[in-house]
Symmetry: C2
Subunit: 221 residues, 2 copies
Amino acid sequence: MALESYNVPLVKMARIPRATVNRLPLYLRVLERYPVEETTVSSQELADLIKENSAKVRKDLSFLGSYGVRGVGYNVEHLRFQIRRELGLTKIWPVIIVGAGNLGSALGKYGGFDANGFSIVGIYDSDPDKIGTTIGDLTVGAMEDIEGDAKELNAEIAIIATPVPAAQEVAERLAGAGFKSILNFAPMVLRVEGDIEIRRVDLSTELQILGYYVQQSLAES
Amino acid sequence: MALESYNVPLVKMARIPRATVNRLPLYLRVLERYPVEETTVSSQELADLIKENSAKVRKDLSFLGSYGVRGVGYNVEHLRFQIRRELGLTKIWPVIIVGAGNLGSALGKYGGFDANGFSIVGIYDSDPDKIGTTIGDLTVGAMEDIEGDAKELNAEIAIIATPVPAAQEVAERLAGAGFKSILNFAPMVLRVEGDIEIRRVDLSTELQILGYYVQQSLAES
DNA sequence: AGGTGTGAAACAGTTCACAGCC
DNA sequence: GGCTGTGAACTGTTTCACACCT
């Protein structure tokens, strides 16, 4: 008899829809700022806080399992815990930044990550003038350091904050170094082999989309 | 006879789906980097460049009107023009930044906007120590300057790069000053009355979503 | 009474597949 | 032969509406 099998879930847990996953961090955000004196929260209250409707909130939360109480609402503390668990925020994830220009530096100094389950553990650049300088409490490393550091620090998530011409090459290097996902601030689409999740954050794109709706003057979120 | 009416479209043009609007800046991006010697591009080539499939590309582009040629593809130059026109990128949009901290400063110095149809024309902060200092070629203004400057400069789009506690108040001020849309970098949901388009860019949220997929080890974009 | 959980309906977005044109 | 344009099928997401529990 395979003893190890005891802890393996027999039924594959139903996957949470992407649209819902995208909203989970948002729920967590508002729950973390929720008044401490309130022990429960209703789907309607949550809906107001994230500008959605209560049916969507209930559907979303139902994917975490059924943790609400009819006639009462959801236990705030328990809900926070469930969402954190689902998002894997039970540990602090080490993250590295590649590119120590304006944006990379700003991200390195930005304190907001630590409170949200992530810690910037390294920042790298190819410019010899930048290597060795300090940003916040980090020292800028050389590109060649990435592979070794990543292994040592167990980093699986990287942020690309390089100029466009360098980004593709960096992405491939990161994939080779075993990174599982990349947050890409370079305004281009990265193409990398294998199972690697890439999300793009593109400021000009965001402005262009806003511009479209201003122009159409049908601003409605 | 109303002479002015000649230029007014008689038929209200069909609205472009949100999902398509979100991709238009991406098409424009790749078309702007497209080899100059190529005069046409196929839906398959575009699809490869943005990591989508060709059917989606054809559907998207069909909303701009039918500008492709069967058996040949799309004229690159014409397509660029159509997308720019649709996004309203026939002029440079003036944009202001509120918040001159790490992120606001980095955005103010970031040169990438100008090439993409936007120009940062003002940056504001409430900290008296920052007011009057320069960031790039901008001088940090006081919050009270926003209303007057916005009118003078015709700015309708603003970027919020303040800390969370200030963001809601700033958003309301911007709405009052006549801004039509806001790009919000403060990690919270802004609630503002009236027809104002707000997009949120939240770094921790992005990381949390990536973390979820790393954890599930089903990284697939 | 109040508020969740959830099938079912409605809607939005994607993909298929092929007629039609170059 | 190659590639677009587009109805039709399909998949994913949102919303409705109400049974059910406290």
